[in-house]
Subunit: 124 residues, 2 copies
């Protein structure tokens, strides 16, 4: 079971990966068979190749993540609020997002879900 410090470090590594625009840094926090649902309710991306493709596309928008409150840690889970700043249809856009991470016994993220919808997107 990962420690709270390991789980917080994974969240910060995820934010840093977007800062660097380096999809491999994001892929590195996930287990090889991880499942991503982003946003929740859409078709899951399953496994390393799908996850890599997803982050390459996400980072191509120039998206940066800004943590916007405490990282919540419980058992082998983390949840965190953030603002995602990106270009959307050629316009600066902020999306208020909450991500949840479920970790495996090796401290890798085995399940990620992102919560946001149209009402969470604002210009600027």
């Amino acid at each position: 079971m990962p420690t709270p410090e390991q789980m917080e470090a994974a969240v910060h590594a995820y934010v840093a990966a977007f800062d660097a625009g380096d999809a491999e840094q994001a892929v590195a926090i996930f287990a090889p068979d991880a499942v991503i649902e982003d946003p929740i309710g859409t078709a899951p991306k399953v496994g390393e190749a799908a996850i890599r493709e997803f982050y390459q596309a996400s980072m191509a928008t120039g998206a940066k993540l800004v943590l916007d409150g405490a990282i919540r840690i419980a058992a082998a889970h983390a949840a965190f609020p953030m603002r995602v700043m990106l270009q959307w249809d050629g316009q600066d856009t902020t999306i208020h997002v909450i991500d949840t991470f479920a970790f495996d016994e090796n401290g890798k993220v085995k399940e990620m879900k992102a919560y946001f919808g149209p009402g969470n997107m604002i210009a600027g």
Copy 2:
């Protein structure tokens, strides 16, 4: 499928239930067979009787909820950051929590998970 407005209203009703100290108001947002995992990683509370007992005990601490950022809405899901203010061991305590709600087709919460741990609890 509930509308975003219905899901936001459920979150506000949940906060208002704690303000009123009225467990029945909290129970009312849940489906009869709902499952609560609070905090995530602990034994689930399943069904109306267990949920009622849980909120009666929670509200007996005097806990109040203060939303601390946008309610994220995606498909039939909501996630929201908050501060929970309560008495813990006789001391004013704030806990930074993120809750997730999954809704059924009638707009009732069928699954609730709360994310927080010892590192999210601060005096004051």
